[in-house]
């Protein structure tokens, strides 16, 4: 992989959550939870598609909402985003599997199949998170 090419893009890149060092409480590297830090691993994503795939859904939504705003005015995307926010809250506790049915129907994902539906199905993930830890993380207590 040509690392030089990616370095030149770093200046204008959009800051991505989860790519930087994992800060815990007190603003330092959280060694207990995320392991030892390595500058090389955090500076450059290892695969060409990692960054773009992480942000793909967000960017698509941004494009669609901005198009909608230009065509139909401000109220259309506002109302849609309100519905998304409401549908996103219909789920079980963080460590249980939720179907996200309302959210999928709103987004139109119930009528299409992509790699998100085939690969790495969360319902069949091999790792189970510890329930207390996951709920605390969700509520922002961690």
């Amino acid at each position: 992989m040509n690392t030089r090419g990616l370095r030149s893009q770093l200046k204008d890149s959009v800051p991505v959550t989860g790519m930087g060092p994992q800060v815990g409480a007190y603003g330092v590297q959280d060694t207990l939870r995320s392991g030892f830090s390595s500058v090389k691993n955090e500076l450059l994503p290892s695969h060409a598609l990692e960054l773009s795939e992480k942000n793909f859904q967000l960017n698509q939504d941004k494009i669609n909402f901005s198009n909608l705003r230009n065509i139909q005015g401000l109220h259309a995307p506002l109302k849609l985003q309100m519905e998304y926010r409401a549908a996103r809250q219909i789920q079980r506790l963080p460590f249980l599997q939720s179907s996200h049915l309302a959210l999928d129907t709103l987004k139109g994902n119930d009528e299409s199949i992509s790699f998100e539906g085939i690969l790495n199905d969360p319902a069949q993930s091999e790792m189970m998170g510890e329930p207390h830890v996951m709920v605390e993380y969700k509520l922002g207590m961690m």
């Binding site: 060409a48 009528e111 992509s114 993380y137």
Partner: protein
């Protein structure tokens, strides 16, 4: 297995966790001399021609993995919908999966809307998907079909480029096949003439390219239906394998024979009546 450091359920879709490990492994394997195994490519010749009554697609049947022929009877013409078929060149798994996904999406669409999908819709879905993955999915596809707007033939490149043309060849043998097509193609050909032209184009690809070979498959799509001829022409170089390696009785001669009768005596006899109605 409960791990306390998993704070969120992993997202579905592609997982890039092992990429840095793989890069490190390749460097470690015998000091960089051994490489990871190559995925099976189709290294192929595929061609398509639009004729008066429909579309004719053709493909060879060889799949290579490095320098070895991995599959001598590989099916490269994939079903998309009752009125559309797609030939795929490039990495074999990528073409299979991409055409499978496309076919599933179009089936859902046609069940929802009650219509047969159009070829432009399939092409747009493919283009969006392949461009999203920036060419990492190595699939060069020729999509041909007949719908309410006419007979169409499209090519989709691995980076998402599309082109709508009356005749086409892709794959490693495309230059040889294109030569034949450029020479003898005429608009609005008859069906038999188009089939012969596609056969000749694939044949020249097989003869001139190492990555193409074995048999020729032809798929004819018309308004009335689809005729998938597999194989249209078999290669002359067939291996004569018996597939039965059992020895016939009497191959080994019998030298001596000794029979020991087992003497049994009846100890108990019970009769149970069965009702057979």
């Amino acid at each position: 297995m409960a791990l306390s450091n998993v704070v969120e359920t992993p997202a579905s879709g592609f997982n890039f966790e092992n990429v840095s490990r793989n890069v490190a492994l390749e460097g470690l394997l015998e000091g960089g001399h051994t490489k990871a195994p190559k995925p099976m490519k189709t290294g192929t010749t595929i061609a398509g021609v639009v004729c008066k009554d429909g579309v004719v697609l053709g493909a060879d049947t060889r799949a290579t993995s490095g320098e070895v022929v991995a599959d001598k009877m590989c099916a490269k013409i994939h079903y998309i919908s009752p009125n559309m078929y797609c030939c795929g060149a490039g990495t074999a798994a990528d073409t299979e999966k991409t055409t499978d996904l496309l076919s599933s999406n179009l089936t859902i669409f046609s069940m929802n809307s009650g219509r047969n999908p159009r070829v432009v819709m399939a092409v747009n879905i493919l283009q969006d998907m392949l461009f999203r993955y920036r060419g990492q999915i190595g699939a060069s596809l020729i999509l041909g079909g007949v719908d309410c707007t006419g007979n169409h033939l499209y090519t989709v490149g691995p980076y998402g480029s599309i082109d709508n043309v009356p005749y086409l060849a892709m794959g490693s043998g495309d230059l040889a096949a294109l030569g034949i097509l450029e020479d003898r193609f005429k608009p609005n050909m008859e069906l038999e003439e188009a089939k012969q032209l596609v056969r000749d184009a694939i044949h020249s690809g097989i003869m001139s390219d190492l990555g193409s070979g074995n048999n020729i498959d032809i798929c004819v799509i018309t308004k009335q239906g689809v005729d998938y001829i597999r194989p249209y022409q078999e290669s002359e170089y067939k291996d004569k394998r018996q597939r039965r390696y059992k020895y016939r009785p009497g191959t080994t001669s019998i030298l001596t024979e000794k029979i020991v009768p087992l003497e049994l005596e009846v100890v108990q006899e019970t009769v149970q009546r069965m009702d057979t109605a």
